[in-house]
Symmetry: D2
Subunit: 149 residues, 4 copies
C-alpha cells in the first residue's frame, strides 16, 4: 500500500540522524520532506519551466504539519504532494507522509506558496499557462478563489 491521489510522490529513507533524543524522527525532518516534495512538484510537472519563463518562482508563505504517529528508524517514507486550491497569486499544496514500515500516514500538512517575482519582489497573478500545467498534473479543473492573495 502507498499514497494514492497524489500526482507527485517521492520515496525517502529515514536516516539514523533523523532521530532525536526521544528516539523518534524529529519534527523538523517532516518539513524537510515536505520541501522535497514541493521541489519535485515544480520540476516534474513543468511548473518550474513555466514560472522561469514568466520570470517568477515559488516562495513559501506558510507551512503546517500535523504529526499523527511517531516515526522510527529504520524506515522508508513516501511523501506525496498535490495542489488543493489556487488563489490569485498563491496556491495551497497538501502533503502526506506515509510510513512503509507502519503502512500508515504518519504526518500530513500543507504549504501555502506564492508565485513570486524575485527581481521585483512582488507576488504575481497565476497565469493561465501555469494554471493549465497544474490542471494537467492534477487531472482536474480548478475554480480560482477570489480575493486575498
Amino acid at each position: 500500500m502507498s499514497l494514492s491521489g497524489f500526482p507527485i510522490t517521492l520515496d525517502l529513507p529515514v536516516l539514523w540522524s533523523d532521530q532525536d533524543l526521544f528516539g523518534h524522527v524529529n519534527n523538523v525532518t517532516f518539513l524537510r520532506w515536505f520541501e522535497c516534495s514541493r521541489v519535485k512538484y515544480w520540476d516534474d510537472t513543468g511548473m518550474r519551466k513555466v514560472m522561469t519563463l514568466q520570470e517568477c518562482g515559488p516562495i513559501l508563505a506558510s507551512v503546517r504539519c500535523h504529526y499523527r504517529r511517531q516515526l522510527l528508524y529504520p524506515d522508508t517514507i513516501q511523501v506525496g504532494a498535490r495542489i488543493r486550491e489556487l488563489g490569485r497569486k498563491s496556491l495551497t499544496m497538501e502533503h502526506h507522509i506515509f510510513s512503509r514500515a507502519q503502512q500508515a500516514v504518519v504526518a500530513d500538512g500543507e504549504s501555502i506558496v506564492v508565485v513570486f517575482n524575485y527581481r521585483r519582489q512582488v507576488g504575481r497573478v497565476i497565469s493561465p499557462e501555469l494554471q493549465a500545467v497544474i490542471e494537467r498534473a492534477e487531472g482536474r479543473r480548478f475554480e480560482r478563489l477570489r480575493g486575498g492573495s
Copy 2:
C-alpha cells in the same frame, strides 16, 4: 528593539549554511528555532521538572509557521515563545522570530503540544501543578478550554 511579552526569548545566530540556493534562510530553519524556544520554555520555566515528576513529557501534535519576510545571512535572530491557550491535555504555544538586522518580526507561528505519558503512550490531563507553573511563567491566569484534547 526586540520581542516583548514573551516569557522565554533566545538569541541565535543565522549560520551561513542556513541559507539555501535562493540566498535566504531556508524555511526549515525557522521550525528548528521554534523547537529551540520550546525546549528552553520547558527547561527554564520549570515545566520539564514538573512533567518528569508526573511521568510525562511534551510531544508535538502540530506546528505552523508564517513566513513574513525573507531573512538574510549574516544576522542574529531572537525567537520568543509564549503559551497562549491550555486545553485538557494540550497547549498552544506561540512563536515569533525577530531579526536584529531588520528590526522586524520575520516569521511567526504556533506549536500544539500534548502532555504525553511516553511509557503508556497516551496524553495526560494537564495537572494543577503544571498549570500553576505555566501561569507563573506567563504572569496571568488561564481559562481551560473544554472538550477536545
Copy 3:
C-alpha cells in the same frame, strides 16, 4: 557501475536542500552519509549485537573526508563502508561516495572508531568475537596493530 569491494553499501538521494549557496552539495552532507554507512555497518554485520552484549558501543574518534568532485542535485549517491584496519581498541573504516549521475567517486574518507564502554567511559579491547564478526563481513583476516589505541 557502482562501488565494489565494500561489504556495506547504501543508496541515498541527494536532496534539494543538500545544495548550498554555491549550487553544489554542501561539504557537511558527505559526513552525514559517512555516518549513515557506519550505522548500517554496525547493524547489518552483527557488530552492534556483539558490542551490546559486551556492554560497549562505537564512538567516533576522528573523521576525514576528501572532496574529489562537485556533486549536484538531483542525483542518487551510493556510499560504501569497509573496515581497513583493526587496532587494539579502535578500528579504521573507509568510506567512498559514488555519484550515480557522474558514475564516479565524488568523495572518500575514513572514520576512526573506538569500541567504547559508555557506562565506564573507557575504550575496550576489541574482543575475539567482535573481530570474528568483522572478518566474516570483510571476508578476510586482520592482523591486529600493536600499540596505540
Copy 4:
C-alpha cells in the same frame, strides 16, 4: 578562558537538536561549526573581497576532525580558525572547538581549501595580494610550500 592565537573566533550555542540518540552533540555538527569559522575568516579578514576581485573563491578539498571529548547540551562553544600553511593554490586552516561549560577544547581539525576559479573550474595560484591579507590577519609571514597544489 577561551581560545587564543586564533585571528577568527566565533561563539555559537549548542542547540537541543545538535544532540543525537547518544545524548551528546552529533559528530556532524562539529564540521558545521568548522564551516562557520571558515566563512567568517573569508569575510572578516578581507580574503573574500580579494578573491572576488580576482575572480576566484574558496573550495574545500578535504576536512578532518578529531573528537577529543563528548560535548553536551546546553553549552556555548567557541570555534577558532587560523591558517597554518600556504601551498601554491591551497591553504591549510586549523580549527579548534572550545566548550565554555567544560573549559576545554572538545574537538580540533583542519580544512584544506583550494583557491578556485569557479568559472573556469580550475585552481588558481594564491596571489601576493591574497597572501598579504592572510599575513596581516595572522600577524606573521608565510613561507610558501613548493610543489603539490
